[in-house]
């Protein structure tokens, strides 16, 4: 690191951080630093060796490392400074400057000043579920993402007979990966009545290899002395309680847990950034600025994405906004601010609020529904009783993020400071 005052510091060099830094550069910034705690750039994509990345953004199917590689190539010779093996341990927000506290073996403890910060720290796997399962605690229980790292990056085989709890994408991907490496995957067990994973992963990773998916089931016991030997699987009722008499036993040596991801926001909280309980990520405005001036967020730290393509687009928007903040200064006239409220049919939206004056042509809103909608339905935006916008969908599922573009002219019609979003079945 050559200087102590940057225009922009990006924390994290996954696809979010890389795209944000490149976009900030394109939009006029020159003193940009990217800080990554790992020994290389690319974030989680390095271990996602399967294909399926980039269909929207590049129009072709790439593997995770290839997708990351395209951005890493662009970074070379761009003049953007990068440091790896450096962990950001604290973030402070001041009036004109933000202070990033970083730690590395090479440079020790450093306090770096910058005008704007982009949070791009990604997310980590939930572990709480592991703790709740009764039974002994033998070796052989892994988070699916950790298992992915062992197998794909370190080349270690972690088990021979496997059961997977949770049908999130990482679990599905690992079911196929373990099978290809010669393991027997006996089942994938999901507590909910639907899978949280993408359809394509259910087809390509389970159906292709005849791995059964048991919905509304869970693991109720794990046995084993040193290594996992047997697990009990039980069906659950509508209240997710195990139904007595439905016990099935599986002789396995490995349990993989794929029970979701949570954005990593310890640093954000320390800087005073307001966190939305629905996303577990920062509450952001239309330009991805958080509640703290000059601090922006994008990628999985903001909300868990299933598609890296959207991470890239979102991060480019954050980079552009951070550049505008540095070059033009903070907003002086905030104008009409609308908060987007979710009705019970919608689990969250990003952004959560919009400063209407800042929207050029239209506002892209990402959202997730909280159940499967198989019939044609509408995503409806209302300010009280008036319908502001309505978007038709033939099929929606919680595992697949939806997005809509609300034109500025419609936002201008919103009376008051609340916009409510809900899902309604179309009338036939």
């Amino acid at each position: 690191m050559t200087r102590q005052d940057y225009e922009l510091i990006v924390i994290g060099a996954g696809p979010a951080g890389l795209a944000a830094a490149l976009s900030a550069k394109q939009h006029g910034l020159s003193r940009i630093l990217v800080i990554e705690r790992d020994k290389e750039l690319g974030g989680i994509l390095n271990q996602c060796i399967h294909n399926g990345f980039g269909l929207h953004y590049f129009g072709e199917e790439l593997t995770g490392p290839e997708y990351a590689g395209r951005f890493i190539d662009q970074l070379e010779g761009s003049g953007i400074e990068i440091v790896c093996d450096t962990m950001v341990i604290h973030l402070e927000n001041g009036d004109d400057w933000r202070i990033v506290h970083a730690m590395s073996t090479e440079n020790g403890y450093q306090c770096l000043k910058c005008r704007a910060v982009i949070l791009a720290m990604g997310c980590r796997e939930r572990t709480r579920f592991a703790i709740q399962i009764p039974g002994s605690r033998p070796a052989g229980i892994f988070n699916a993402g950790t298992a992915q790292r062992y197998v794909n990056i370190e080349g270690k085989m972690i088990g021979r007979r496997v059961i997977i709890l949770g049908s999130g994408d990482i679990g599905l991907i690992m079911a196929r990966r373990m099978t290809l490496e010669g393991a027997k995957v006996l089942a994938c067990v999901e507590l909910l009545p639907y899978s949280g994973g993408l359809n394509r992963n259910i087809v390509q990773c389970l159906h292709d290899y005849d791995i059964p998916l048991y919905l509304s089931h869970t693991i109720t016991n794990i046995e084993g002395r040193n290594r996992v030997q047997r697990v009990t699987v039980q069906q659950v009722d509508e209240n997710r309680r195990p139904i007595p008499g439905t016990e099935t036993y599986y002789d396995v040596d490995t349990v993989l847990l794929s029970v979701g991801l949570i954005p990593e926001n310890e640093l954000s909280r320390e800087a005073g950034v307001k966190i939305d309980r629905r996303t577990s990520g920062p509450f952001v405005y239309e330009n991805l600025e958080t509640s703290e001036k000059g601090i922006f967020a994008c990628g999985n730290v903001l909300h868990v994405h299933d598609l890296v393509d959207y991470v890239t687009e979102e991060s480019q928007a954050a980079g552009k906004a951070a550049a505008a903040f540095v070059l033009d200064g903070a907003l002086t006239d905030i104008g009409h601010v609308i908060e987007i409220k979710t009705e019970p049919t919608v689990s969250y939206t990003v952004p959560q609020a919009v400063r209407v004056n800042e929207v050029a042509k239209s506002l892209r809103i990402f959202l997730r529904v909280n159940k499967i909608w198989e019939e044609t339905s509408h995503i409806v935006f209302r300010d009280g009783d008036n319908v502001i916008a309505r978007f038709k969908r033939d099929y929606m599922a919680p595992g697949e993020m939806e997005n809509v573009n609300v034109p500025r002219v419609l936002l201008d019609r919103v009376k008051g400071d609340m916009l409510y979003v809900s899902i309604e079945e179309a009338q036939r």
Binding site: K39, G52, E61, L62, T63, N152, L198, N199, R200, E400
Partner: protein
């Protein structure tokens, strides 16, 4: 009539394919889905991704993929071809690791750069 989920893109359209009526597809939102639906019943294909050994200072394994989809029944034979591969850096994305995988005409290619 067979029902399947289109996997070409994450939208996952629910397709109906009529084997009795020249494999006519319904339920697709774009023509890629129509092609997929037919092919999936006539001759299903997949891209295979895995890793191979590499003598690198950075990582012990290097990721690879088939540069085209290969017939589903060739997936396991294709995997076995990778067991004997040992790469030495520098390697670049796109470098060919195995030619003509199991007679399919596809190659296994490297999917990341490793300089050392």
């Amino acid at each position: 009539m067979k029902t399947l989920i289109c996997i070409v893109c994450p939208r996952g359209c629910h397709l109906n394919v009529d084997e009795e009526n020249d494999y006519k597809v319904t339920g697709h939102h774009c023509e890629k889905g129509e092609i997929y639906g037919r092919n999936e019943l006539l001759h299903p294909v997949r891209v295979v991704t895995s890793t191979v050994k590499v003598k690198s200072n950075i990582h012990p394994r290097c990721p690879v993929k088939t540069d085209q989809s290969i017939p589903k029944e060739n997936i396991f034979p294709a995997m076995r071809l990778l067991d004997s591969v040992l790469l030495t850096p520098p390697i670049k994305r796109g470098d060919v690791v195995v030619d003509d995988v199991a007679g399919s005409g596809a190659c296994f290619v490297v999917t990341r750069d490793l300089d050392t």
